[in-house]
């Protein structure tokens, strides 16, 4: 078996999907709990436009931090996220091909697709699919999206989420992710240990709850303000009137409206919620309510984005 470095593994997967007409994006530059939350997935799966993209996304789960002591559990792990919209008929064969491309000879291994459906209450999103098990190790989440932001999807995308550390540990036969050879003579520990330790200390011990709440409220307020403004803009367009042949200034205003920055504030809320949760700072009654607040924003944003892209599509045709 090929036991290249961690970074080589990433190169090979990117190359594989690049060869299959995927855009190779770079990681999103905000804290997210999963690659799904990046606009490249969450927003691009909406609407009727086909899209194929792959990217590595560092994903933060504050509650999973273990001060760098647990050999498998990480505050921040890396996913290779592939979104194929619409999903091709041979999507599973393409996926299995990617395992071959990273040096796994499937004829010598045990591969199973075990039911595992995905649901994100904060994103109003769900799908059905599997966890892919390789010799008993879960290496990929495979999901056919059905709904996102509370909206039924026009085209059903396949989302493949590779757990990169696990796959690397499997390929390199390591019992701890920290022993993975990253590349350039460095181990995963050399690159990431301090990050794990210090973020664990921050999340579990030093994060100031009052400050986090204040930040949450600020981001929520900003996202809500912008969403409202977009809604007002939409209302002023008066959808009862037939669209003029040449789009007026309102359409242009819609098109340039900063929904993507609005979404970034929603993502901030989501991450702050996770941090507060890991800190044990969210009480019973609050929990459901706070999830509801984030969900409202995410769902509202998804609706607005679909609306905005209706305009974009009309522009493209006109």
């Amino acid at each position: 078996m090929d036991s290249g470095s961690y970074q080589e593994l990433i190169f090979k997967l990117k190359k594989y999907w690049s060869d299959r007409d995927c855009i190779i994006q770079e990681p999103y530059d905000l804290e997210v709990g999963a690659g799904t939350m990046c606009p490249e997935t969450f927003l691009r799966v909406l609407g009727p436009k086909p899209y194929r993209v792959a990217y590595v996304q560092p994903s933060r789960r504050p509650a999973d931090g273990r001060y760098g002591e647990n050999p498998h559990r990480l505050y921040k792990h890396m996913q290779l996220q592939v979104v194929l919209k619409p999903s091709p008929d041979d999507v599973i064969d393409q996926y299995l091909g990617s395992l071959g491309a990273i040096g796994i000879d499937l004829r010598q291994h045990d591969i199973k697709f075990e039911e595992d459906n995905w649901e994100s209450p904060t994103l109003g999103a769900w799908g059905v699919g599997w966890q892919v098990m390789l010799d008993g190790l879960e290496i990929t989440q495979f999901t056919y999206f059905q709904q996102c932001g509370g909206i039924d999807l026009d085209l059903v995308p396949a989302e493949l989420t590779y757990g990169l550390e696990r796959i690397a540990a499997f390929l390199q036969v390591k019992d701890s992710v920290y022993d993975i050879e990253w590349g350039g003579g460095a181990t995963y520990r050399d690159v990431r240990f301090e990050d794990e330790l210090q973020n664990s200390v921050y999340n579990f011990e030093l994060a100031d709850v009052a400050t986090l709440w204040k930040l949450f409220d600020l981001h929520e307020g900003e996202a809500a303000r912008l969403l409202n403004q977009y809604r007002k803009l939409t209302a002023s367009l008066n959808p009862a009137e037939p669209r003029p042949t040449e789009s007026g200034p309102s359409d242009a205003e819609k098109q340039r409206f900063p929904l993507l920055p609005t979404y970034e504030h929603v993502l901030k809320c989501s991450h702050l919620f996770n941090t507060l949760d890991s800190r044990g700072a969210i009480s019973v009654t609050e929990r459901v309510a706070v999830i509801g607040r984030v969900r409202n924003l995410a769902v509202g944003l998804a609706g607005a984005w679909v609306d905005q892209h209706g305009v974009v599509a009309a522009e493209a045709v006109g």
């Binding site: 008929d89 019992d175 044990g280 929990r287």
Partner: protein, 657 residues
């Protein structure tokens, strides 16, 4: 002439547990389709499946429907010529071809229409797409785009053959044909098949079509190993593989220091491995995994599974050790952060309500202590990781932390019974804590209107109520059931249903005996069980059946007379000597006996009334002309019925007489 038929729906991997019910459903739908089209006579249907294919095979499908005739009636003989011509035109025939026939309503123009039978191939081609999409799955998906067809997973190929002909149709853009697909890794991707050789052709492509063959193969391969029996896991693995092969692995015996419950859960629920026992029935440091491939010559797969298990066990060990740093006692306050149900508050509140309930049920110190600590394990890392071990983990920690046996066992058992096959908690404290937990859930959910409807029962209230019944009956706890339910009549009705289910379907008592006994009351369900056993025992004796019939007769007489008892006593002076007086005296004698007898002899005593009751009905006219005598006789009968009604309502017993 008849033909064999084969339908293979090729899909991506279907969740294992959905496959058997889906197959049954497919069979029913198909038989129904054949019957509706008159081509189902003598057809035998076989179904089978792997995760990637649902298969239906049928023998002796007639090549076409039988020709049929239909008599079409038109206008009466007296109708004007143009009406007759119109009728003929509508049928596309000449008026001369019509025939006048006499019917009960008079003479009419008719035509015997010949309907040619259609080829089965056409019928199947037309109806199969709907049939396939009608197969029920608990959670379907769409994949071709919004408003597209829904199925459990995408359909990727369809084989539909009637004899050697393809039955042509299309579902979700997939055209039926004669090409199947082999094992994902080891088989060919496209294989042309025939009805006759299909199964062998799959075998050649490293797919074992038959679920029972796959099961046999696994059983055969593990026959030399002493496995912890686990039929549920075996079912899962049979439907998770197209070509199962069992392999044995081992783990560091050092891990055996962790509780067996934890190790088994990791192996079973998280890795789908069988646990292995040593010669003494204790857990051995080994496991059996079932691969979805044919061999592991170099032990690569075994080492992979071992590595994953080692990591999992290390996690569990870490959690076990971390959790020990904070005692259960010190976790009580943390329960305020764990939601039970949004409207019913946190687990802290639930635990407090449970403690109050246990006190109300006169629980001792151990029971109260156990109730207080019972939910604390929800805050432990181990339970967050292995939720199915809730209760068990709390019990194990309580044991480690020096809680008395009565207490730790009660915590350990308090989710029991988790099914009707499961046992009830092993000690009295456990019984009370389990009761308090379930009763609190039932009362709370009913109060906020979360009442199960149809198949929707998100809080598993049926199971909770069933558990309560089982604990009360099998733990012989004589507690006032109605009071425990907090006076909620809907909940009482719900629970009565569960009591009925328990006696009927779990204990297998005949339904009429159950109805008879429950009509006599169920507030003390232990007592109800005793009455039921007694009735069941006495029922085959010679007098019981006829007496039950007589009671039904009495009930009918009273109903017809609109007599529900007027509170008056039997006037002995009005009783006619002979059968009436005899019955009265016998009734008084039996009444005296029954008052001091256990149920079984009491029922025998009651049954011994039969000759006197029979004689009474033979010789005495209840509906006597004298109103006072009539009234007195009705009163006698009413007393007879009412006196023993707290044991059972005998008129519910179904008799042949």
């Amino acid at each position: 002439m008849s033909l064999p038929f084969l339908l293979e729906i090729g899909t991506e991997e279907i969740p294992d547990w959905m496959i058997p019910p889906a197959l049954e459903n497919l069979r029913e739908l198909f038989l129904d389709l054949l019957a509706k089209n008159g081509v189902g006579q003598g057809v035998t249907v076989r179904i089978d499946a792997t995760p990637r294919r649902l298969l239906l095979h049928a023998d002796r499908i007639p090549e076409r429907q039988n020709d049929a005739e239909e008599l079409v009636s038109g206008p009466p003989k007296a109708a004007p010529q143009n009406a007759v011509a119109g009728f003929a035109r509508k049928l596309g025939i000449a008026a001369e071809q019509l025939e006048v026939r006499a019917t009960s309503k008079g003479e009419y123009y008719t035509y015997l229409k010949k309907i040619a039978g259609r080829p089965s191939l056409d019928i199947l081609a037309e109806t199969l797409p709907d049939l396939v999409l009608k197969i029920y799955f608990p959670k379907a998906m769409y994949w071709t785009g919004k408003n597209g067809p829904r199925f459990i997973r995408p359909i990727r190929w369809i084989v539909a053959l009637l004899g050697s002909d393809v039955v042509p149709f299309e579902i979700a853009g997939v055209k039926s044909g004669n090409v199947t697909s082999g094992h994902r890794i080891l088989g060919a991707a496209r294989i042309k098949v025939t009805v006759e050789k299909y199964e062998q052709q799959l075998q050649d492509a490293v797919v074992i079509l038959s679920a029972s063959e796959r099961r046999k193969k696994i059983e055969q391969e593990v026959r030399t190993v002493r496995l912890k029996p686990d039929p549920g896991l075996l079912d899962t693995l049979v439907y998770l593989t197209e070509y199962p092969t069992a392999i044995q692995g081992s783990f560091d015996p050092e891990f055996l220091k962790l509780p067996a419950e934890v190790l088994i859960t990791v192996m079973r629920h998280h890795q789908k491995y069988f646990s292995v026992e040593d010669g003494h029935g204790k857990l051995a440091p080994k496991f059996v995994a079932v691969m979805n491939t044919n061999a592991d010559p170099e032990g690569l797969v075994r080492r992979g599974h071992e590595r994953v298990l080692r990591a999992r066990f290390n996690d569990a060990k870490f959690f076990w050790e971390t959790d020990q740093r904070k005692k259960l006692e010190d976790r009580v306050a943390d329960l305020a952060h764990v939601t039970f149900q949004a409207k019913l508050g946190s687990y802290l509140e639930k635990a407090e309500r449970m403690v109050a309930l246990v006190k109300e049920l006169h629980g001792d110190h151990a029971a109260i202590r156990a109730a207080k600590l019972s939910k604390c394990d929800l805050t432990t890392e181990l339970v967050k990781e292995f939720t199915e071990l809730q209760g068990v983990v709390g019990g194990l920690y309580a044991h480690e932390q020096g809680e008395p046996e009565e207490v730790w066992q009660a915590i350990y058992d308090h989710y029991k019974p988790v099914s009707m096959e499961d046992s009830i908690p092993r000690n009295p404290a456990g019984e009370l804590v389990s009761l308090a937990d379930k009763l609190d859930t039932l009362r709370g959910c009913f109060r906020i209107g979360m009442i199960p409807t149809g198949s929707r029962d998100p809080f598993a209230l049926r199971r909770a109520a069933q558990g309560v019944v089982k604990i009360l009956v099998e733990g012989e706890l004589r507690l006032p059931f109605r009071k425990l339910l907090g006076g909620d009549t809907r909940l009482e009705e719900f629970v009565l249903d569960r009591i009925r289910y328990y006696f009927k379907d779990v204990r297998n008592f005949p339904y009429d005996e159950v109805n008879a006994v429950l009509a006599g009351g169920w507030d003390d369900v232990v007592d109800a069980a005793e009455r039921l056993v007694a009735i069941h025992d006495v029922r085959p004796t010679e007098n019981f059946g006829p007496l039950a019939a007589s009671f039904k007769r009495i009930q009918n007489i009273l109903k017809q007379a609109h007599f529900a008892g007027d509170g008056s006593q039997i006037d002995a002076a009005l009783l006619e000597p002979g059968p009436e007086k005899d019955l009265y005296e016998e009734f008084e004698r039996v009444r005296g006996l029954v008052a001091n007898q256990p149920y079984r002899p009491a029922l025998e005593s009651i049954a011994s009334l039969r000759p006197k009751v029979d004689l009474f009905f033979d010789k005495v006219l209840v509906n006597a002309p004298d109103a006072r005598i009539r009234q007195n006789r009705l009163t006698l009968l009413h007393r007879l019925l009412a006196e023993f009604s707290s044991i059972a309502d005998f008129s519910e017993i179904v008799t042949n007489t």
